[in-house]
Amino acid sequence: MTMASTLEQRLDEFTRRARERSEALAADALPALAALREAGRKTFATTSLPGPKTESWKYSRVGPLLEEGLLDRPQAETAVPDVTGIESFDAGRILIVDGVVRDLPATADGITVTRFAEAGAEAAATLGRELGQLADMSERPFVALNSGLIEDGVLIHVGPDVQADSLELVIAQSGDAGPHGAHPRVLVVLETGASLTLLERHLGTRAVFTNSVIEVRIRDEARLEHMRLQLDAGAGRSLTALDVAVGRNARYDLQQALAGSTFRRNEIRIRCEAPGGEVRVGGATLTRNRSHLDTQMCLEHIAPHCSSNQVFRALAGERSKTVLNGRIHIHPGAQKTAAELSSRNLLLSHDAEIDTKPELEIYADDVKCAHGATVGRLDERALFYLRSRGVAETQARMLLSFAFLTAVVDAFPVAAVRDAVRPVLEAAFLAPAEASRP
């Protein structure tokens, strides 16, 4: 590909190479994987990659994903990077490096954490039932791509009424990785009454395409605390689809701390499928320099008597771009739904861009739905107040900016993680701006 080729040519080339890579895969022994791969390949072949006119990709151009080598398979033997965990957060670690499952924790009775490829009879049955059921491929060519290229993945299964220990899912790049495309796939199933705390961390700053798909099934009365950290800025091209189904009286809590990178996009779809479901989502984000961060949030209220509360706080500096599309879809019959979304954003520079778009679709008449979005700058009066008390301007700006993020960072359910997030964000905030390239 040369720079002169049109976007259309590059999209075509990408599609052709994706098909080649998919067709070159060895036949899979596991029927669930074979079926998913086949479906993914077919869907991908018939779905156009998003172009400039695709509404949901309006603020995220696919260019950085189409670059040379980003469909290549990762090298076979790569060094395992340093993925040192969070101090005093004790969790069994699932490690995926360049899309390859490298390490799995030992687990207690009632919990299964296994590679798809090594699934026992029961896990294989769960895969057969659940894999690909939530991550809808239509209109989502990259989910189809992940499916079409699937070779392995990780199943986390927590049995009925099992209160599992914490787990950590690390999606990392190897330190010596050349350009490639990795397609991690994770399926989480919490059976009735189960509970789990899951920390998901994405690591790596290299120009690698990481196209993850995570499916989560939370059955009745079950509870998942999900924390997501994507704090590495840099050249990573990261696209993560997260599809969650919340059962009767089940609870899903997703708290995120995110930094931008060359390309980062999170597509999150949460379905409240049965009455009494409770969803809480938080996102504290910081983009700097020329980084990009796009969150496509979709809350599907299908059943009545469910609640969802979403709080997003974003700081955007330099020439960075933060996108939040917050869709709340209340289906007919989802009466007594209480859905809230608050998106507050601070521009730290005149050149930064924040695109925050509320999208409400309501087909039930007895619901409470609130949606608020603001974009502003730091309060000059507060800044002066702090400076008049001897707090230097840089520190004053940081105090005020973090005051803004506090509502979300404080919502992290695990203190050790909350305490680890803040200094990382602070360091990222205080780092000098990169010299902008001409």
């Binding site: 309060d379 000059e380 009066r381 507060a382 002066f384 107040y385 702090l386 400076r387 008049s388 008390r389 001897g390 707090v391 230097a392 301007e393 520190q395 004053a396 105090l399 005020l400 973090f402 005051a403 803004f404 506090t406 509502a407």
Partner: protein, 249 residues
Amino acid sequence: MLKISNLHVTIAGETILNGLDLEIAAGEVHAIMGPNGSGKSTLAAVLSGREGYEVTEGSIEYFGEDLTALEPEERAWRGVFLAFQYPVEIPGVTNMEFLRASVDALRAHRGEAATSAVDFMKLARATCKQVGLDTDFLKRGVNEGFSGGEKKRNELLQMLLLEPKLAVLDETDSGLDIDALGVVADGVNTLRSAERAIILITHYQRLLNHIVPDRVHVLSGGRIIRSGGKELALELEEKGYGWLTEAAA
């Protein structure tokens, strides 16, 4: 300590201070009174370094240094403190966090080590008691949801912790009930010392019953039109400002 000479200040092109002269020595308490719109708060703002105020003529010397050339935080490091007329609410930053950042910033400038968390907590609690604020206020966001009186007490709390050399109180007495006024006055009086100067900007004479000033100045039309001893305040209370402003016009 402070020497203001022929100070002219404009805001968005409009002249507010128009040839103000004022000299204050260490150890003195000066009251600045005057009708609304006379430029009292502008003087406070200019001394603290608020943006948007342009000094077009004249000078402000503070310990022989050109104060107008300094950033707000640099003034604070050198001992200038402004008690705000309208203290700012900062949700998300706790009062404790704010106070400690301020105290440590000033200590760092004096070449002193940062306070330990335990020592600072003790000091902050004791000072809270002194100004009549419950220690719960330390955990709340800066001025967040505080009543008018609580905000003023919080200003006093900061002043006592920061131990300024030059304290400017901009209508700290406004909106206070008589008990709160007594607390504020007691706080200011404990700060009075031979090394410190205090400027009280006020509308009313009643504060001066509690804090007896060395000098009283009347500000009108952006200039000081009359200066005198503490008895001038009583005269103003009785006669209002009219007789002075008319005479000056």
